[in-house]
Amino acid sequence: MKSLQRIFAVVMKEVRQLRRDRLTFGMIIGIPTMQLLLFGFAINFDVRNLPAGVVDLSGSAASRGYVMQMANAQVIDIQHQAADARELEQLMRQGKISVGIFIPHDFERRLQQPERAAVQLLVDGSDTVVQAAATRLAAAARTSPYNDAPPPSEIRTYYNPERRSAVNTVPGLIGVILTMTMTMFTAVAIVRERERGNLELLITTPVRSSELMLAKILPYVLIGLVQVVLILLLGKWVFQVPFRGTLGNVFLVSLMFIVANLALGLVVSTIAQTQFQAMQMTFFILLPSILLSGFVFPFAGMPLVAQWIAEVLPMTHFMRLIRGVILRGASLQELSGELAILGVFIAVSMTLAVARFHKRLD
């Protein structure tokens, strides 16, 4: 009972201070909105005039017709004629072309054999937007009424074997945004009070370390959930992200992830001496979270060491959970393993934070 009264006192204090901190308040709404819209621009980018190169070993009327047809779509702009495949690859490495069209000498014969690809499109996959555009291009060329016998093309993607889209990005963005904001909020929470001198007051009161830690994360849990709602709504309205799971599951999964990040931030806060140090440390969490969690690069393709590091980041588990829940409509039973890992993560971080926080100045 007394414990509850003390927790309530600190929670109310945090809420009051938060309400008056305009910058932080702006961050709560601003970061999700800004990130989502920035990513949205990249996703909806209308690709035109990609620099392209052609190797035409066939030199036939049919091959010239095919190249012309590709050029007419205006997605690519044929700037280079190359002698062979090697030259084409070289042009791509140098960044002079994003798309290469390779027409073999037996182009006309291949057209008669539907099981063999007649043309090879080389695509610079280091840019996902280009990759997606080239995919559409190849499909368009096949179904175009311009040619009675559409040449089936084979696409070989370089540098990035997996194709992604807004559908995959938006659920992942929930993870990025929550990692960024949640860890940062609690990472500065205790350091800020130390810097302002409030900590010396707090530690002379009967409030327990565990009560203080709990009270520090409670207000932010609600803020995290508000952010999730915001991202989901924007994702639905702006990017038409399909929503297959139940809302309850999305919130439960997000809640676990929010608490995990807040607890992680608290640990940072007990280590850092200044707010600046706390910020620096959150970047050490944020960067691997974005890069290794499967948000940017597919998890399966990463070297083993990177996978091990990724497994200890809450974001990795959240990515699996949220994609499962939102895109595949998976049930919680099917994802219980990942949820349990987040639970363990929360328990360990909170214990660590409480153990590290001493009600002393030395």
Binding site: K2, Q5, R6, F8, A9, V10, M12, K13, R16, Q17, R20, D21, R196, G197, N198, L199, E200, L201, L202, I203, T204, T205, P206, V207, R208, K359, R360, L361, D362
Partner: protein, 321 residues
């Protein structure tokens, strides 16, 4: 929980020491602080006053020595003590971005005052510490004196037996300081024990008992009157036409401990065992060709005690002790 050896002792330390790396902040401190008194720590900055107070509250762990506060073994039993003591930090440590009323409510809740007592206690504090007109104001915008009244009111809400005040009046004008001390004496009359650190002599004189700290060592302790009569020096007040050269001359005399100028007169501390300090002083000045307008023995005050005590220790240090 252990019980105090003597019930009228609020704080007892034996051999209390604290080191920060190579720096000896507090050395071998023995204190006995009586209940329902104002006990003062007098000393310059860096003398170990704050460090001692923090050790007594359990905020710092002593390097060695024993502490007993209100029957609690500190730092082992520090958490149990927290509900019984109030602590006013040197730097204002309430929340700048909350109003006076919000700060008071927060403190009432963090000390788990029962709801039925809460508003009554807050109202009392508001009246006693004259906070009525400031209730809606942000604590960060208060003046030095107002902040200090709020901090004291907030740390007394749970009616602690013992109150620690770490240089409470350093940002306060003289009028407010006076009012502040009146409140302290009210609190003592109600049974509170107060430990206050200061570097103001006039504040130290108001205390029931004081301890003079110098570089972490207790150099003298007792009531202000006792200390002034036990001083190991005598005080001569000198009036001179040109006090500066006279002060410089006297400083060079072997029997003179120190000189301090106050307006146009000099306060000279001389050897305790000098037969006639006034005659010795006159002779020294006369030999150098100075005529003194006045020269008389006066009663020692606390500042003399302080200077004499710290100088004695410096002399011992210089002698290689």
């Amino acid at each position: 929980m252990t019980s105090s050896p003597q019930d009228d002792i609020a704080i007892r330390t034996r051999g209390l020491s604290k080191r920060f790396g190579a720096v000896r902040a507090v050395e071998n401190l023995d204190l006995d602080i009586t209940r329902s008194q104002i006990f003062g720590f007098l000393g310059p900055n860096g003398s170990g006053k704050s460090t001692t107070i923090r050790m007594l509250c359990g905020l710092l762990t002593p390097t060695s020595g024993d502490i007993d506060v209100l029957g609690h073994d500190i730092p082992r039993d520090a958490e149990a003590l927290k509900q019984k003591v109030g602590y006013m930090t040197q730097k204002f440590s309430l929340f700048d971005d909350m109003t006076v009323a919000e700060n008071l409510r927060f403190m009432a809740d963090i000390y788990t005052l029962p709801r039925r007592l809460r508003s009554g206690r807050i109202d009392e504090a508001v009246e006693r510490y004259r906070l009525e007109r400031l209730l809606g104001q942000f604590a960060g915008t208060l003046s030095g004196g107002q902040k200090q009244r709020l901090a004291l009111g907030a740390s007394m809400l749970h009616q602690p037996e013992l109150l620690f005040l770490d240089e409470p009046t350093s940002a306060v004008d003289p009028e407010n300081r006076r009012a502040f001390w009146e409140i302290l004496f009210d609190l003592v009359a109600e049974g509170t024990t107060i430990l206050v650190s200061t570097h103001y002599m006039d504040e130290a004189e108001r205390c029931h008992a004081i301890a003079i700290l110098d570089l972490g060592v207790l150099v003298a302790s007792g009531t202000p009157a006792q200390l002034a009569s036990d001083i190991h020096a005598r005080v001569v007040q000198v009036e001179a036409e040109s006090p500066r050269p006279v002060a410089k001359l006297l400083d060079r005399q072997p029997f003179v401990h120190s000189t301090a100028q106050i307006g146009s007169s000099l306060r000279v501390l001389v050897d305790h065992d000098l037969d006639d300090p006034v005659a010795a002083t006159r002779r020294a000045a006369g030999d150098a060709g100075f005529t003194l307008r006045g020269c008389e023995a006066v009663r020692a005050n606390l500042e003399d005690v302080f200077v004499s005590a710290t100088q004695e220790r410096k002399a011992k240090r210089d002698a290689g002790e």
